[in-house]
Symmetry: C2
Subunit: 873 residues, 2 copies
Amino acid sequence: MTKYVYFFGDGHAEGQADMRNLLGGKGANLAEMVNMGIPVPPGFTITTEVCTLYYNNDKKWPEKLEEQVKEAITKVEKAMGKKFGDPENPLLFSVRSGARVSMPGMMDTVLNLGLTDKTLAGLLKHNERFAYDSYRRFIQMYGDVVRGVDHDLFEAAIEKAKQEAGVHYDSELSPETLKELVEIYKGIYKDATGEDFPQDPWIQLKGAINAVFDSWNTERAIKYRQLNNIPGDWGTAVNVQTMVYGNLNDVSGTGVAFTRNPSTGENHFYGEYLMRAQGEDVVAGIRTPHKIDDLKEEMPEIYKELEDIYHKLEQHYRDMQDIEFTIEDGKLYMLQTRSGKRTAAAAVRIAIEMVEEGLIDEKTAVLRVSPAQLDQLLHPMMDPNYAEEPIAKGLPASPGAAVGRVVFTAQDAEEWAQKGEKVILVRNETSPEDIGGMDAAQGILTARGGMTSHAAVVARGMGKCCVSGSSDVKVDFANKLFRAGDTVVKEGEWISLNGTTGEVFLGQAPLIEPQVTGNFAKLMELADKFRQMGIRTNADTPEDAKRAREFGAEGIGLCRTEHMFFKGNRIISVRKMILADDEAERRAALDELLPYQKGDFVELFKAMKGLPVTIRLLDPPLHEFVPHTEEDQAQMAKEMGRSLDEVKAKVQSLEEFNPMLGHRGCRLAITYPEIYEMQTQAIMEAACELNKEGYDIEPEIMIPLIGDVRELLYIKEKVEKVAKDVLSNHGVSFEYKIGTMIEVPRAAITADEIAKEADFFSFGTNDMTQMTYGFSRDDAGNFIKDYMNKHILESDVFATLDQTGVGYLVKLAVEKGKSTNPDIKLGICGEHGGDPATVEFCHDVGLTYVSCSPFRVPIARLAAAQAAVKKPR
Amino acid sequence: MTKYVYFFGDGHAEGQADMRNLLGGKGANLAEMVNMGIPVPPGFTITTEVCTLYYNNDKKWPEKLEEQVKEAITKVEKAMGKKFGDPENPLLFSVRSGARVSMPGMMDTVLNLGLTDKTLAGLLKHNERFAYDSYRRFIQMYGDVVRGVDHDLFEAAIEKAKQEAGVHYDSELSPETLKELVEIYKGIYKDATGEDFPQDPWIQLKGAINAVFDSWNTERAIKYRQLNNIPGDWGTAVNVQTMVYGNLNDVSGTGVAFTRNPSTGENHFYGEYLMRAQGEDVVAGIRTPHKIDDLKEEMPEIYKELEDIYHKLEQHYRDMQDIEFTIEDGKLYMLQTRSGKRTAAAAVRIAIEMVEEGLIDEKTAVLRVSPAQLDQLLHPMMDPNYAEEPIAKGLPASPGAAVGRVVFTAQDAEEWAQKGEKVILVRNETSPEDIGGMDAAQGILTARGGMTSHAAVVARGMGKCCVSGSSDVKVDFANKLFRAGDTVVKEGEWISLNGTTGEVFLGQAPLIEPQVTGNFAKLMELADKFRQMGIRTNADTPEDAKRAREFGAEGIGLCRTEHMFFKGNRIISVRKMILADDEAERRAALDELLPYQKGDFVELFKAMKGLPVTIRLLDPPLHEFVPHTEEDQAQMAKEMGRSLDEVKAKVQSLEEFNPMLGHRGCRLAITYPEIYEMQTQAIMEAACELNKEGYDIEPEIMIPLIGDVRELLYIKEKVEKVAKDVLSNHGVSFEYKIGTMIEVPRAAITADEIAKEADFFSFGTNDMTQMTYGFSRDDAGNFIKDYMNKHILESDVFATLDQTGVGYLVKLAVEKGKSTNPDIKLGICGEHGGDPATVEFCHDVGLTYVSCSPFRVPIARLAAAQAAVKKPR
């Protein structure tokens, strides 16, 4: 019989930490804590498999599940000495979701389950206020989560009660008022559902379990999974656990904490708690909680116990933990432990310090930081010496800097961002519905909520700058503005956030470039120690080249010469070349370009100080360079002594139906070999001049868009002739390489033939993705969103390499290429080269190097190291 | 030591017929005839390998060649009792090219080689006129062919001599005049080359042999090879053969003949001869020769001998032979035999009749006809009952009919044709330089030349209608017109040719459709007996379907539903569907289309009478259907109650950068599933209605542009639901199939996954070629010509499948598809489906059927049969 339910509590558990896939993260860790002897309220976990069965079986429970749940309840009853549904001493449950990976705020929870008009009696014996408060909370949560009753109806009722009572906080309401509220809530429930509030605890429990399963496929959960690449068929587990009450009395409370600072990584216990509160109150950011340090004074024994537990947990898990606890009537219970989410800065610091503390080894440290997350450290930061006065201050909830125009709704954030606007989303507090807008914004500013509020947690996960709980900020949604002291900031005005200090500035603050120093540099050293692939950069300018070298690039994997064609006045010569009537005229225009190109290459070679530089010869269709405005066309007509009509006709003749598949790349050089001849001359002359000065440059000339070895043969002959002529004219001698892009599917298929004639392959996975899928990158935006919404594609194939299809061709080309040219150098220079999953793939298939944009170089270094640690060559 | 030279003559030869690759066709067959005891002037063949060595070795002879040539000359001298360079009794040679396959008129020839001022004496002893005539011919030929002296300079000199002598034909010139001409020709040679005419026979021979090698790479030879797919590295052999003289005296002559009629296939000896002439005179079409039948009266013994030889040759080679002979002083010599080129009609008739005669078996007959050539029989013909009077008559040189506008130069023919004009090329006679223009023209009309003239031979080879030697036609090139009796026909006027009767008509004659009858039908029966693949057709209309069935199609492999969208008024509904603002509006427009689509399918199913019909759901991007003119846009705005600006904006929003790779095919149905739902409903309802009437239709629904199995799953679910609903609503039940196009490279790579969900694959090799090469079919015209000129591509990859690249993906998909779905049906529906080489490939990789346009169905049937005969499954 399949085991669907795993009990924990009473000093032993059926599960353990490594059963995360089956029990979810929360369930596995609850079991582990029980096994470690840590106080955890007893309960049981329904496996993630049940969730999948539930969806595959028309939302019905599998056979035997009910039986197993009931058995588990009996065990809990025994452990607690209470009975589920017993009016004397009722056992109450919390019902929570728990997927393999944490999805904060995404899933629904029901607390106080098992309360009925009858079992209420058992609670009333303890404390009347607490009993009614628990019941009204339960009705609201159950109504909202299980039956979809509008949350606001309950909120309005309690608001009204508070006004009538003349009090400010829920906790100030009298037991009598709460008792009345319970009846009002039941009425709301009945009005909305047409049914009485269920008085059978078992019915309640079944409803809550199903609600957790259902919450797996809400729109916001699906969106979160898409953003985080979590497969839909993983499912969620359900944790049913004995309730403990942080709201029972004055020596009760609840808190969340991290064993180290999740924002900076500092090794200091860090968290917040609220007395007289249930867990959700802290996370939801409704009341601003106390710092965990305060607990040391308020309840020193509890604090000591908590400290022992967190040390024990960190030693056990050898990672920073995110914990939840509840104090019930002076007794501490742990409700959750998990690896804590952290900013990139914190991840790096914790990994390095844990190595230094001897807690983990170097390989583990390398694996501990997500390469994609490093991106946060590579974004511009606010200058710490920026002298302006902030208009407001809040909590430094997620570090970095953000500059953008103020919007007040998530929807506006998404819409403005789609139009290319940079925006800062300003809210009182954020909720899961705001995810899309938070993702679209540069940064987030909230007026309420702490360091563990929704806004703070989600922003840190996204690596997005966030200032939370800035009580200086008073938002006026109706008039689309906020006030901060005397300053009024309207929708569309620019503000700047410093997420590292919590400061808010008016206007656009200047930002400074990131650097690889301190712990970050130490991590990069570790990465370089383990990685087995080279890391190059895609750079067209000396500035980019210099930055990439600072980030650790070991060469240029792709220099796109066409970008140089637009610089300064040279576009005129380019256009003359394109509009030429014959070869002689074309050569004359190319002669004008030659010194510019040579100068470009001299600067680039100098910036790279002898590191390898791969230069791709002209690639885009000529139509991209022609004058499109009548004014520019008239200028060219004058320059070339033509009529405007002639120029227009020529421009028109270069238009193509599908330029992506048109006259571009090496096809240009088949028609006009003189273009590549000029570029080769410029490259070789630049290298000659510098090598005479003592540089040691070995240029790598790359021919794009090869699909047939005969294209390469034709062009290679011309390129080699020019190269040899330049060397002999300069009377010098040095090595140079001639290689090809592998981007056309046919090139991958015939790579054995091509490799015989190529010193290197560089995979152009952008174009290869376009051709392998038949997706135009420029047009796919129109339909890819439907693909994502309908679960046909899980990630953007232009960001993460499609390993099944495009990857097949890459592997094929590697195998075929090596079969005829075992020494061939193999690289990748598509945008994918900076994507961690793709870097791992490149390591696994045996590439020599990956090349990516300068800012992604550290990411690629770390990803390459992780790949090598996981599966050394 | 490599043997470079093969001797033949004196009753034995070193070569034989099956050494064609080494000795070329001419050389191999000369050797074979010698071995058969047929009289052949002795000589030797320099192998094709030498030609390749010559080009690879900077146009130098390989070592030992000279030695071997000299040895062979010695053997010939011994056989003839003459000596090369002997003034008393000189041995003279002809030097001719001879490639593996015949390239008529493409290669250069030198006759009378070995004549010098000294050896002339030996000829003068026989006949003074003949001696000087031979010498002046030799100087002209050698000057022209070996040294590039302008042919016209010699022609002008002899023209002047004839005028001065007051004679009309060369043969009327006196020996004295010819003697003077020899000196004048030597002067022309010296003026042009700066050297005296060579007086060393060995120098002459080396020069002529090199000239033959050089002629292999002239522009016209390269062009011919391109047109006929002959690889450049095959090279040509050189045949050096003892001269025999058709121009020696009145009992000398020369002729060319075919063992059967090459135009109709009739089993009747067919040819032409000229007395007092050398071979080139007949072929070049300068004098109009006599019919071979006349020889029976003029030289009965020679005719009898010739008749015996031709029967012997046909029995030996078991094929129709094309022979050349010379009669020297009453003695017959054979100079060549080879398989005769023939029209498609002749090829079919000869193949069928040879089976009936017991000369060949059925499989050989199937292999004897080139499938591509059948195209000739499938072109429209002139109605035999056409009642108009012809304006001129000529020889029925190449059958069929042609209607076009008159042009007078090959260049004009090419230029006009490029602009889309249909042209008839009218020339006095054609020459190898005209090849391009002949290819571009609908048909060819010449005023001079016989049935074996250049025009006739080349036109038959091309399957192009030709009327030759029409002496009614007087061409006035200066005024760009020709006269035929009283009729004046100017450039650009329409004429019609009947190549089967030799008639020329003014204006555009109506043409009739071809039919598969008689020998053609017999050949098709044979083909069907052997072929192992099904043959379907690509048809969108009942008319096309009916024609294809008459041609033998066994089903429809591709019905493109989009063509139906343009018929009548339905484009309005299509546009409403596209311009709709939401799904409801879109569904309303689709509802309007439904009855039309259903009607289309009813007609198509009826026309195919229960044969399988594969219907491809909507494929092209929506932008192809939108109104592009302001008028049409205004109409749509009115129809839909929109503003013109709104319609314009919507139209613009559908524009794409690369529509080929854009929102089309199944991607449309991912966004708008209702489109495919409507089409499925129409298909299934049509089938329901007809099946209720007793038809037995099993529709095959084809989803285009699948790249990922999840696309297919998503769409298949919707299609199946509609199909089941229709069946249940109609209360009927029949089988239907759902399959996919395999055209996106990724689909081929993941075919194992896709095949699990597909009943069939149909290879869309048009799109697959575009994506595998990265060539846009619409734009490739701009650069493919450079690829052909520069030998980077040998054939148009959109006409003949690229078996290396695209073929790899087809094979991969077949293997992967069968691995998960062994019963999967596999077809091809790209344009390539009618290309014989591609059909053979499809047979070899194991496809179930090929589908092609109706007119190519017989070609595909024959090609499939040939593939099965060559390599049965």
